[in-house]
């Protein structure tokens, strides 16, 4: 557990609307009280479908409170862009991780967990755990 500092969360989707909506949904489902720093990075900088490394870097910078940043992605170029940025070493805040989790369910789990003041490893584990929630 880290004192006061909350883990930041970045949601990267090919669609700006999807990233923004999932961020709102996750915040709404996390209940009142603590506000988790969460930022969407959806679509390209010119507003098309795709991934923008600039939007991802900017979003990560805005949610970084010093407790680490968990990045959740949808698919394809979103995953590859974040991985490429992490490999560069200087493009994302220190202690940023790409979390292997389903996008919507993982985002909700991450936000709920981050709101408790949990550390990055716990937030990551909670998001990844969302894969095990079967619907049928």
């Amino acid at each position: 557990m880290s004192d006061e500092k909350l883990v930041g969360i970045v949601l990267v989707s090919h669609s700006a609307e999807v990233a923004t909506s999932v961020a709102e949904l996750a915040k709404a489902l996390s209940g009142g009280g603590v506000t988790v720093p969460i930022a969407p990075a959806g679509g390209t900088a010119s507003g098309e479908f795709g991934t923008s490394s600039e939007l991802v870097s900017a979003a990560a910078a805005t949610v970084d409170r010093g407790a680490g940043v968990a990045v959740l992605t949808d698919l394809g170029s979103a995953v590859l862009t974040v991985k490429a940025l992490l490999a560069e070493g200087d493009e994302l805040p220190e202690n940023t991780r790409l979390v292997d989790a389903p996008f919507v369910e993982g985002a909700v789990a991450a936000v709920v967990t981050a709101a408790t003041g949990a550390d990055l490893a716990s937030v990551e584990a909670a998001a990844a755990e969302a894969y095990s929630y079967r619907k049928v």
Partner: protein
């Protein structure tokens, strides 16, 4: 020996070739992808040429690292981080030498291709750019012409393959019979080496 100007010419020749072939790349990307490969790479390499002119990096490694960074930030599709990583890692492996030999380039290019394989998780036969790049790496030690031929053959050999990576993999057997757009653009990148060398 290959100097920074050679690598600038390589990027310029790639941009010109991507411009010429953009419609074909996008057409190849229509049945099995999301029909944006040509326009994405066009945007990316146009930005690469512009930034190389503006910042004028003076070593082979610096040229490729700047080009790779630009591709990661401009392309918007999966080919951005993939080609960006290819060029950045190749550039990084070249270090800060003012000139490099073709053999040194071949060695560095292998490092770059390995990084792409790690990033995308693709192996030869998965119907991706790796199917053009892997044979090109092996042939680059011989000559630019051999690398060009190997990449071209590798791209054509993706036609009967079933895609195992990326969006095309969702199509399963329906991806068979189409040449992979990524392997096709990778062959253009390799072919541009010979153009940069004036062959």
């Amino acid at each position: 020996m290959l100097d920074a100007d050679f690598f600038r010419r390589w990027m310029t020749a790639t941009a010109a070739s991507v411009d010429r072939e953009a419609e074909r790349l996008t057409a190849l990307d229509s049945p099995i992808g999301d029909a944006d490969h040509g326009s994405n790479l066009q945007r990316g390499f146009t930005a690469v040429v512009a930034t190389l002119e503006k910042e004028a990096p003076d070593t082979p490694g610096a040229v490729l690292m700047l080009a790779g960074r630009q591709l990661i930030s401009t392309v918007g599709g999966a080919s951005g981080p993939l080609y960006g990583t290819l060029l950045r890692r190749t550039g990084k492996a070249l270090g800060d030498a003012a000139e490099v030999s073709r053999e040194q380039l071949a060695e560095a290019f292998r490092t770059g291709v390995d990084a792409v394989r790690t990033l995308g998780g693709a192996a030869p036969g998965d119907k991706t750019m790796i199917d053009a790049l892997a044979p090109a790496v092996d042939a680059l030690g011989d000559s630019f012409a051999a690398a060009r031929a190997a990449a071209g053959e590798g791209a054509e050999a993706t036609v009967p393959l079933q895609a195992r990576k990326g969006r095309a993999s969702y199509l399963g057997e329906r991806s068979i019979g189409h040449q992979d757009p990524g392997a096709t653009s990778a062959a253009l990148l390799v072919a541009a080496l010979g153009e940069a060398a004036g062959e």
